[in-house]
């Protein structure tokens, strides 16, 4: 049953994505200064939204685990963090390709780029921490703490880097809050299939975590013989 839901979700997401890409390439006019390349933003920004949604879910999972001590929350936490990192990487890489064309450089220490990179490093640290702990409940407990701490440092990172960078001249960012309605609708309508895709990945990853726990239980049973 659960697998059928996932397949259905995947089909809807794929259909929406195909429709969106089609509309992107044929329906929307080019942005005045950037030509076709600006269309990357319709994946770039939704990917960032998706990854932050995932990190927010990781925070909720961390708190819920500490409250309930239910390992399901732990597997949810690690799943959303991994998927969030994947989407964060997609966001960073697509942004770099865009920047190469529009700004002429691969990377600039603009506050958005920098804070996204720091977020990425923080949550990558979460995964590294998990790898270093063998015992499942201890791993769940400590990584929940790490998740909560990571999320609480993110606003600080955002504000500090924004203050830091706005004191320097920076490339003028495209859009900057003023975006045509057609583009905006496109942006959000592309976020929905990406979120669905993320949800599928999270569900698959959670099933794997559950089976991994079953394996561990089997192994204990085998050794108990």
């Amino acid at each position: 049953m659960r697998e059928r839901i996932l397949y259905g979700l995947g089909a809807v997401a794929a259909a929406l994505l195909v429709r969106n890409i089609w509309k992107l390439l044929t329906g929307l006019p080019d942005e005045a200064f950037q030509g076709a390349i600006f269309r990357i933003i319709f994946f770039h920004v939704p990917a960032a939204f998706t990854s932050f949604t995932c990190f927010l879910c990781a925070l909720i999972a961390g708190i819920a685990y500490l409250k309930s001590k239910n390992l399901k929350w732990d597997s949810f936490g690690v799943s959303v963090t991994e998927v969030g990192l994947a989407f964060g990487a997609a966001n960073l890489i697509s942004g770099m390709i865009w920047a190469r064309i529009i700004w002429g450089i691969w990377w600039t220490w603009d506050w958005r780029l920098t804070s996204m990179l720091i977020c990425w490093l923080l949550y990558a640290g979460y995964l590294v921490l998990r790898r270093a702990i063998e015992e499942p409940t201890e791993r769940a407990r400590l990584s929940a703490v790490m998740s909560i701490l990571s999320f609480s440092v993110v606003p600080f990172v955002f504000f500090s880097i924004k203050w830091f960078r706005t004191q320097h001249p920076q490339p003028v960012l495209f859009g900057d809050g003023k975006m045509d309605t057609g583009y905006r609708v496109m942006l959000y309508s592309n976020w929905i299939p990406l979120l669905m895709f993320a949800a599928i990945l999270v569900a698959v990853r959670m099933m794997q975590e559950r089976r991994q726990r079953e394996i561990d239980a089997l192994r204990r049973a085998a050794h108990a013989f």
């Binding site: 076709a36 390349i37 994946f43 994947a86 990487a89 997609a90 890489i93 697509s94 064309i101 089997l218």
Partner: protein, 54 residues
């Protein structure tokens, strides 16, 4: 403006390809983990059967 090169279509393709490549790589790691889990379960089941057979 219909000239594909002037409109940077090439790099748009690279950008979109990069986004999806990363996501596909993640999916592939999921698949490989799936396989690993399957192998482990198989091995364990065999081990349990062996032990029960004795």
């Amino acid at each position: 403006m219909n000239d594909a090169a002037a409109r940077n279509f090439e790099y748009l393709a690279y950008g979109l390809a990069a986004v999806w490549t990363i996501l596909v790589i993640y999916v592939l790691t999921l698949v490989s983990r799936e396989k690993k889990i399957g192998r482990q379960i198989e091995g364990l089941q065999r081990m349990l059967e062996d032990k029960q057979g004795k």
